[in-house]
Amino acid sequence: MSQSDSPNPPSAGTEIKPAGEHTSDQDNPAVVSRRWLLLKAGIALNGLVGVALAVPIFRYLLGPVRRDSYYNSWVSLGAADNFPIGETRLVSYRNPFTRSWDGQTDDIACYVRREGSAQFRVFAINCAHLGCPVRWFPQSQLFMCPCHGGVYYADGSRASGPPERGLFTYTYKIVGGELQIDAGQMPTLSNTAKLVQIATPGKDGDSSCRG
């Protein structure tokens, strides 16, 4: 709404009217004049600077998007002998990728099931449905999720409820009697499910947390 349309001019009666009409041919957009050309040059310059700045800005914004290998590394869960054969234990580890202001959020829990002297299964704490923390019930040998009722058997395979697959598992190795897992990322369908077939062919509910 320009001032000239205003129905009630200020009572002071000293309104300063901006020039409203073309004062010369040079202001007519149809005429290619120096001032129009310079305006276009100004727009072009700003566009160029904008694009030049957009590149580093987007690169900065996309900073967290990294390959899985950037975030993952081998984490020790303690001596393998701490885990009795045939039992499932809740353990937590410090996420290998941290910032000093993360607080307790880097303390990640997981379940270790020892199936033989050198056979382990290390399950992610997150339900494969929507990531809530599943709880282990040794009496009934089931994992239950408190959110939407996903249930898994002791081997991590889906028993009932909304999950489409079994619990996520970490790849592990035993180094000098220590159980180590390849950890670093929140396990999700996008960084683990794509490896289901490769890691353990034909076995639903078993895949690596490594992407």
Binding site: P64, I125, F137
Partner: protein
């Protein structure tokens, strides 16, 4: 000339606001729109102002750091004088704002106010709704307690289902590989800068259009909207039978907004602030995460989806819902405004409202969630164990110890994921019970590997006693016939095995 008038003139000469403000204040609106039905939009705007003010005040103390956020909220609650009240005002203001925005939208839909030429006002309104919900979700994250942590986890798992770029989206959402300090920082940025800035800008555009296009006239059956004639009709209505917006219509806005803010203040004082809940330590897994009120319905819907529907539904349904809302004024931009002659619109609104209420109500008691402590905490009514044999008592112990109770209630206590078992013996025979326990089925896990044969026998004996007095347990008629045939002399007719 009085001193005040001189001061006024000094500012007016420089600001020159009298013209545009006078135009807004005095613009004519149709007489019937000075109605109590037209107060929700201004109330939503007032609540936005309240949220901005209380939000800034909270930011004086809140520390957006993964390690300190939760502590700073507890200090606000317990140590800063009236810090709890500011938190409560902001939290209740948020709930009221979401509610008023939804009511405003329902009213606009019901009154046909989105029709020509107000399509864009509606479109901007849809984005205002999304921004309001975005504020509610990011605000829940800033509380940075267990619910916030695992609520973020749900967001991560939804993102991760996007094909091809899901992994990258998760990293972008979290600002790293896991929910941590970087995640809180970016949600702080969203909640404090990005979304409120967008919200304020869109709200001003929204109000600008309301002023420029005029407040929707009261819908009258038979008064149809046509692109060719509507603007002339509206101007006639507003100018021949109209009243200036101030004071005729605006006093109702003022009183309602004041009442809403008073309601927020009273709720905040009576009910206090919400949370923070448990500390954001993901190694503490004894938690039952739940989203805040505006998202309870989503929580319920997600629990009822069959596994095969999860990914398609989660990825497609939100797009369809938003597209559907945006399409409303372009599908029905002309014609009848009155609810008396728009049965489909009424039916659609009623269905959405009922579905929303049902899902939200379900999510308040989550019948789909196992009760994690039912097996250890819930008692068994004495009447179920009177005159019970040792085997039946043993079965009752197994029933508790094997967490059956987490999903099945007995005597009104226990989970509701599976059916209540108070009269299970009348529905299933011994063999059916045994089969169900061993091999599961439907939503029940198979217990065959987790129970020894004696345990199964004891459990089934206990379940067999669960029937109302005077009602006998279910029997297998065929089996009985076979037994009768075996007992009776050969040659007589009996069932086949």
């Amino acid at each position: 000339m009085s001193r005040l008038k001189r001061i006024y003139d000094w500012f007016e000469l420089r600001l020159q606001l009298e013209g545009p403000v006078g135009e807004v204040v005095l613009h004519k609106v149709p007489r019937d729109t000075a109605s109590w039905w037209y107060v929700f939009g201004s109330a939503a705007f007032t609540l936005l102002m309240l949220q901005i003010v209380t939000g800034i005040l909270l930011a004086l103390v809140y520390v957006p750091s993964g390690a300190q956020a939760w502590n700073s909220l507890n200090i606000l609650n317990h140590q800063i004088p009236l810090g709890w009240y500011l938190r409560a005002l902001h939290g209740w203001g948020s709930d009221f704002m979401v509610a008023v925005v939804f009511i405003h939208m329902a009213q606009v839909f019901l009154f046909g106010a989105y029709k020509y030429p107000r399509e864009l006002t509606w479109t901007v309104g849809v984005f205002l709704l999304l921004a309001t919900l975005g504020m509610a979700f990011t605000g829940q994250v800033l509380r940075f307690d267990q619910d916030a942590y695992w609520g973020l986890g749900i967001g991560v798992f939804i993102m991760s289902r996007v094909p091809w770029i899901g992994g990258g989206l998760v990293h972008l959402l979290l600002g790293g590989p896991v929910i941590a300090g970087a995640t809180l920082s970016r949600f702080f940025t969203l909640h404090v800068f990005v979304i409120p800035g967008t919200l304020l800008l869109l709200a001003l555009v929204h109000v600008w259009m309301v002023i420029k296009l005029g407040i929707n006239e009261w819908p009258m059956p038979g008064r149809l909207v046509r692109r060719s004639t509507y603007i002339a009709d509206y101007n006639k209505l507003a100018h021949e039978d109209g009243i200036p917006f101030v004071p005729g219509a605006f006093w109702k806005d003022l009183i309602f907004s004041g009442a809403v803010v008073a309601a927020v203040a009273v709720c905040a004082a009576v009910f206090g602030p919400y949370g923070p809940g448990g500390q954001p330590d993901p190694s503490i897994i004894q938690t039952v995460p739940k989203p805040d009120f505006p998202f309870l319905w989503i929580y319920a819907v997600l629990s009822y989806l069959p596994p095969s529907m999860e990914t398609p539904f989660i990825l497609v349904a939100p797009i369809l819902m938003i597209a559907g809302l945006l399409a409303v004024p372009f599908v029905a931009g002309e014609g009848e405004k009155s609810w008396h002659r728009r049965p489909v619109a009424i039916l659609a609104l009623a269905s959405v409202a009922v579905a929303w209420a049902v899902f939200t109500n379900l999510a308040t008691f989550t019948p789909w969630s196992p009760h994690m402590n039912a097996w250890s905490g819930d008692t068994l009514p004495v009447r179920y164990l009177e005159e019970a044999t040792p085997l039946v008592r043993q079965g009752a112990v197994i029933f508790q110890a094997k967490q059956c109770r987490n999903c099945h209630s007995v005597g009104g206590h226990g989970g509701q994921r599976g059916p209540a078992l108070d009269d299970v013996a009348t529905r299933m025979t011994v063999d059916q019970l045994r089969f169900k326990v061993v091999s599961g089925g439907g939503n029940m896990p198979a217990y065959g590997k987790n129970l020894s044969p004696p345990e199964i026998e004891a459990l089934v004996s206990f379940l067999e006693t669960l029937h109302p007095k005077g009602q006998s347990p279910a029997i297998d008629a065929a089996q009985q016939a076979v037994e009768n045939a075996a007992a009776s002399p050969p040659g007589s007719q009996g069932g086949t095995p």
